[in-house]
């Protein structure tokens, strides 16, 4: 997982997003242990409170669970839960931006659809 700490998004959100990506790509499989708060904060040189805040977002959603004295683990069913969540966000995060840019460039909806179909066949 790679963070872009200069980016606009607050770092704790980026930590949560990065772990989500790791779960979706299989880097952090379901029921496996994820690195500790200390490991995250040392690795990215961020305050442990920031790392904790990011991870707690995922704990609140039930994607990560804590085992007292052992560590933090990916929940069973986290992948499908995340896929569902990201599917819901897909329009806002990707499609609306695509349409904004297409409008600026005078690209029609037909042309976008053709491009998407071409992309899927590649």
């Amino acid at each position: 997982m790679k963070l872009n700490l200069d980016q606009e998004k607050p770092i704790f959100i980026q930590i949560a997003d990065g772990i989500e990506d790791g779960i979706l790509t299989g880097a952090f499989p379901e029921e496996s242990q994820i690195p500790s708060i200390t490991e995250f904060s040392v690795n990215y040189k961020i305050n442990p409170a920031t790392a904790l805040k990011g991870i707690n977002l995922l704990v609140d959603e039930g994607i990560i669970f804590k085992k007292r004295g052992v560590g933090m683990f990916v929940s069973k069913g986290a992948v499908s839960q995340l896929q569902k969540k990201r599917q819901d966000q897909f329009f806002d995060h990707y499609i609306s931006k695509l349409i904004d840019e297409a409008k600026r460039l005078n690209i029609t909806s037909g042309e976008i659809i053709a491009m998407i179909e071409r992309g899927f066949t590649q």
């Binding site: 200069d6 200390t38 904060s41 040392v42 990215y44 040189k45 305050n47």
Partner: protein
């Protein structure tokens, strides 16, 4: 919870007002960034807190007890700074031993481990170390003393990129394992920005800002776009600075962005470095 309280500290050197009515407090187990431009008063403030300088007026207390000439309270604080307090002919190894005499919780094994990590030669005299290694030596002592309040004055002075990164990693590791209050004074903000929780900005001997990093970053935003649109938008705003590049203009604004931004203007988050430059760049009358 332990707490250091700085109340109404003023200090003058001849005709220079080094500090003027400084009020601050430091909470337990928090990482502070003490930010200020060269000569702003950072080192003077740290020296006064740690009883190395006397203020003209004002008090510094730890849990209600004065820190001035109070050995018991002072043994819970540690300050590194440019003036080495060790005899110049002393070797690194002996300096570690002496630190243990003054600070009973000084972890000599940990200091040795860090020396290996930073490749600090323990048999060398402190005087003969390069600027970078003098900083490393002082940082190692600071990370090994195990007191609740550690003040690091310009800890990355003279350190190369590799050692700066290593220093911040070791600091976080130590902080995560055994929390303490670290007050880091620096003007190299970018590298420390993700570690700091509380920001104190000092300008010409006065505290112009003391709040959490989150609050500080949320207190302002940047707007950029074509100069004419930017200018008309910022007319009614509290602008702390602008930058122009051709027909493009960026304004740094204090406050919360309007929910409906005029077309053509883009909002972005203020980063600490930008905010710091703007805050410390403002004319006296505006601050």
């Amino acid at each position: 919870m332990s707490r250091i309280e700085v109340t109404d500290i003023s200090k003058t050197f001849k005709d220079t007002n080094a500090l003027t009515h400084v009020n601050l407090h430091f909470e337990e187990n928090t990482i502070y960034g003490l930010l200020g431009r060269n000569g702003a008063g950072k080192t003077t403030l740290l020296n006064i807190i740690n009883n190395r300088l006397f203020p003209d007026s004002g008090t510094v207390t730890l849990d209600g007890d004065t820190l001035t000439e109070n050995t018991a309270a002072l043994s819970r604080c540690f300050l590194t700074n440019e003036n080495n307090l060790y005899p110049e002919s002393m070797k690194v190894k002996n300096a570690f031993k002496w630190s243990q005499v003054f600070y009973p919780d000084f972890d000599i094994d940990y200091a040795g481990k860090l020396s290996k990590l930073f490749e600090l030669p323990q048999k060398k005299k402190i005087k003969s170390l390069s600027t970078g290694y003098q900083s490393i030596f002082k940082n190692i002592v600071a990370l090994s003393v195990n007191v609740p309040f550690v003040f690091l004055d310009e800890p990355v002075l003279g350190l190369d990129a590799y050692h700066r990164e290593l220093f911040y990693k070791v600091l976080i590791e130590k902080y995560a394992e055994r929390p303490f209050t670290a007050v880091i004074s620096t003007h190299l903000i970018e590298e420390a920005a993700n570690i700091i929780e509380q920001v104190i900005v000092i300008k010409s001997g006065q505290i112009i800002c003391s709040k959490s990093l989150e609050e500080l970053l949320a207190s302002g935003y940047c707007v950029s776009g074509p100069a004419a649109q930017t200018d008309s938008y910022i007319q009614t705003k509290n602008v702390i600075g602008t930058e122009s590049l051709g027909g493009l203009k960026t304004a740094y604004i204090l406050g919360i962005p309007d929910p409906d931004m005029p077309a053509g203007l883009e909002i972005s988050r203020m980063d600490l470095q930008k905010l710091f430059i703007r805050l410390t760049d403002m004319p006296e009358s505006h601050s």
